[in-house]
């Protein structure tokens, strides 16, 4: 059974179309991440799922039950807001138990459930405090606690980590993952941070301008991005792109001049003259020792512009035609500035996109 099924959700604010027909499903116990740049409609979609906002068209099912038009209270959901939205006048204990209180649970039941959730999150010592007396990380935990106390069918989280500093964010990310595993809950999680999406999700929906560009398992999206936008959005540092055209004999000529690039033999049958975008992830590039000419590799002649040793990895910036590229090499690699080197990439790690449609080219 699906924890969530959304069909053709559309939303306009006056003349502004914010969502143009969103379809997606989330299986029971799954972790769906809505990923996309600012303003693409992630929060709006989440509010519609929660029932805080009405869709202009489309339908929503939660836990196999028609939920379109239901009041938020009746959807069996819990929500964690970006600002946490803790009730300022209530102590942590009442904050966490407020949902139960509104549903008529008795004092004892509330105490027991809030206590259990607080133990799970390690905030048992904070129950007497008011939100103003908590640190950012503690507030975040209380907000999570308020959501899990009621054991809802579906959790909705809107950028829950974006108000935390980098270190705390990494820590809480781990905790959310653990929480998901231990509770077995179904979660919809909004973020514009692709690292959160990759690490947490069982399913990622990449959004742009009110539409879903691609939806699938994080590694599928990483390995086979459907288009240039998704390819550039997932991965850090982002995928390298080189625009150019196929030349006679199977080579690739980058726009703006520069050396031709030898292309490995591929299943793609690309006629000469076709304009394409070549995509290579920085981590898929590796140096080829001089004098060796292995088969089946895409090869770049690179003169390093900038070299950034980061310990485990070394980032090497170089140019091909007009494009700036980055290679993420092993930290042990000897790289010296200005000495030309050859970098190669396996045919299987190569991404080809049509230059005009920006769609992925699949083997015919």
């Amino acid at each position: 059974m699906n924890a969530l099924a959304i069909r053709n959700i559309q939303k306009s604010f006056g003349a502004l179309k914010v969502l143009n027909g969103i379809d997606l499903t989330l299986e029971e116990g799954g972790f769906l991440v809505l990923l996309g740049p600012s303003g693409c409609g992630k929060s709006t979609l989440l509010s519609i799922i929660a029932g805080l906002e009405d869709a202009s068209a489309g339908s929503i099912e939660i836990g196999g039950r028609e939920a379109t038009g239901l009041h938020p209270r009746d959807r069996d959901i819990a929500m964690v807001f970006q600002s946490y939205a803790l009730y300022p006048s209530m102590q942590v204990e009442r904050n966490m138990g407020f949902g139960l209180e509104m549903r008529g649970a008795g004092v004892d039941e509330r105490k027991e459930k809030v206590g259990a959730a607080a133990d799970l999150l390690g905030i048992g010592a904070l129950l007497e405090r008011k939100p103003a007396q908590l640190s950012g990380g503690q507030r975040q935990r209380v907000a999570m606690g308020r959501a899990i106390v009621r054991k809802p069918r579906l959790f909705l989280l809107d950028e829950p980590l974006s108000n935390l500093d980098a270190k705390l964010r990494t820590k809480m990310r781990g905790e959310i993952k653990k929480l998901h595993q231990s509770l077995g809950a179904s979660i919809v999680y909004v973020t514009h941070d692709q690292v959160e999406a990759m690490t947490l999700a069982t399913k990622v929906a990449v959004m742009r301008g009110g539409t879903i560009e691609q939806i699938g398992a994080p590694m599928t999206i990483y390995r086979e991005p459907d288009n240039l936008f998704v390819a550039g959005f997932i991965g850090a540092p982002p995928m390298n792109f080189v625009r150019g055209r196929i030349v006679e004999g199977g080579g690739f000529a980058p726009d703006g001049g520069g050396d031709r690039i030898t292309m490995p033999a591929m299943e793609h049958r690309l006629e000469p003259g076709r304009e394409i975008v070549l995509g290579v992830r920085p981590e898929n590039l590796r140096p080829i020792p001089p004098g060796v000419s292995p088969e089946g590799l895409l090869r770049f002649n690179a003169v390093p512009d900038v070299i950034e040793p980061m310990g485990a990895d070394t980032m090497v910036h170089f140019r091909v035609g007009q494009s700036e590229l980055i290679a993420r090499l092993d930290g042990q690699t000897e790289v010296s500035g200005s000495a030309p080197m050859e970098l190669g990439c396996e045919a299987s790690a190569l991404h080809l996109f049509d230059a005009t449609t920006e769609q992925r080219l699949r083997p015919a």
């Binding site: 939205a85 209530m90 509104m102």
Partner: protein, 314 residues
Amino acid sequence: MGVGVDSGRRPFTGGRLGRAIGAMSETRSWPFLLIVPSLLVILLVVLYPTLHGISLSFREMRLTRPDLGTGFVGLRHYVDLWHDDIFWRSLANTFKWVTLAVSLELAMGMISALALNREGPLMRICTVLVLLPWFLPNVVAANMWALMLDARLGVVNELLVRMGLIDSYVAWFATPTSGLLAAVFIEAWHGYPFFTLLILAGLKAIPKDLYQAASVDGAGSYQAFRNITLPMLRMIVVTAVILRVISLANSPELLLILTGGGPGDSTQVISLYAFKTAYESFDFGYAGALSVVTLLLLMVFCVIYLRVSRVLEK
């Protein structure tokens, strides 16, 4: 703090006076020197009149009896007050008047602010309309209503008779109860926009996501009001009530125009009594004592009120 730390450069180099000021500005006393002018102004316009009023209450000053002089009489005015029936009745009336009027204003202010707390151009127009009474001076509002409530030609009587709510014209200010209630109604009509304005500002400052969280938690609108809106407005309401109580306890104009304290002494409040003592009996010493008592009572009220509202918060 940069105060007193030698920055190593001269901010001012022109002339001997300039150098002297420049040197002084590097010392620790400079910031204190800078606030002296404003302190002097405050002393002059706030402290001096207050102290003068207090000293007046210990002296004789009757314009009708210049022969008595303006000598020091100690606590005599206060002893007289203690035995003055009108004072005690005024005190009770003040209490009734202020409590009724401020409660009604608070209720009307709260209801109108909640109704106006919506988006849209229509709401902005309504807000201005609701605020209109507040723009009228006390005296204008009082005279306007005095005319509308007039026992012989008032429009209110005419309307009520036509609607069949009363049989014949009523002299609203002729009996103690209806006189007080009519005055309270007029005061509330005139003063409630003060609460509307402050409460509306408070409402706008409450984050929307609190209501969203409450709605997901299953709270209805009454529960959201009780658990979110009211606590978030607490400081504003407490402040507004204090300001309004002080201003009501101190301004006699409205009652002076509407009832003149009557019928009998039924709407005689302390501020009105003090006003009449000073400007009808020309006994400034006794009026001073009445004012000092009002001041003390208001201070006591503020302290108790703040305490109580702090206890209620917990």
